[in-house]
């Protein structure tokens, strides 16, 4: 059985290796930026016979404060980079087995850059698409 909760937690654990970035495997009521939130986006079943392959798509939303536009943009640049200590891609793929819960995973793309309003506060946010094969 695919343990989706364990997969989300494992992605969050990998993200937590980024210095200063909070993580949450579930959408919090009051996010405390900078924070990376892991959400299930979709599932492709029956990639092989007898459920031999299921592809789960996760969305990672990284939310940062907009108190300073310049600082928030530079911060997002670091998270969006394909390498570096704060790279979301490097962090997620640091353990591609997701603690033994997946056959493989890959950060496929940065899908969105924009702003996000939560509790009457505007934040900067970027979203990543992650494919997980189980």
């Amino acid at each position: 059985m695919t343990d989706i909760t364990a997969l989300r937690q494992a992605i969050a654990t990998n993200l937590a290796t980024i210095p200063g970035l909070r993580t949450d495997s579930e959408v919090p009521d009051n996010p405390n930026p900078p924070v990376a939130i892991v959400q299930l986006e979709g599932i492709d079943y029956d990639g092989a016979m007898q459920q031999g392959l299921t592809t789960l798509m996760f969305k990672i939303i990284v939310i940062v404060s907009r108190q300073s536009d310049r600082v928030s943009q530079r911060s997002l640049n670091d998270y969006a980079s394909q390498n570096g200590a704060r790279s979301i891609k490097i962090a997620v793929e640091s353990d591609r087995s997701l603690n033994g819960n997946a056959m493989d995973c890959r950060v496929q793309s940065l899908t969105s850059v924009g702003s996000l309003e939560l509790n009457n506060t505007e934040y900067s946010a970027i979203e990543f698409s992650v494919a997980v094969y189980v």
Partner: protein, 136 residues
Amino acid sequence: MAKYVVTSQSVTINAVDLSADCARAELVINSADVETTDFSSGGFVELQGGLKSGVLNLDFHADYASGGASETLEPLVGTVVPFVLIAGGTSVGTDTPSFSGSVLINSFTPVAGAVGDLATFSVSFPTSGAITKATS
């Protein structure tokens, strides 16, 4: 079961169940065309069925783990091994018949795939000898 959506064909090669690594399975049975056209054929080609042959076409996900498709097929290249294909399930029945016989493992692609894609490979094995259908 009448018409069905393919999700659970059972694919066994050399007694190893490779279903979980297999994304497509197809068994084709052919007959050779033997021409019997003569002066009384009325201007049309006449044919009779000749020797039968078969091809087992499979799409696999590369899997180097023990019992995986890659690990299983690699040492079999050049050999004739038994296969069993069960349509639509793991147990044989009237709605889920099995087709069995032998195939020549005449090719194998140990590494394939473009960057960012799932590693997959396709094989096309000619059958050797008779293909048998069973419903029980």
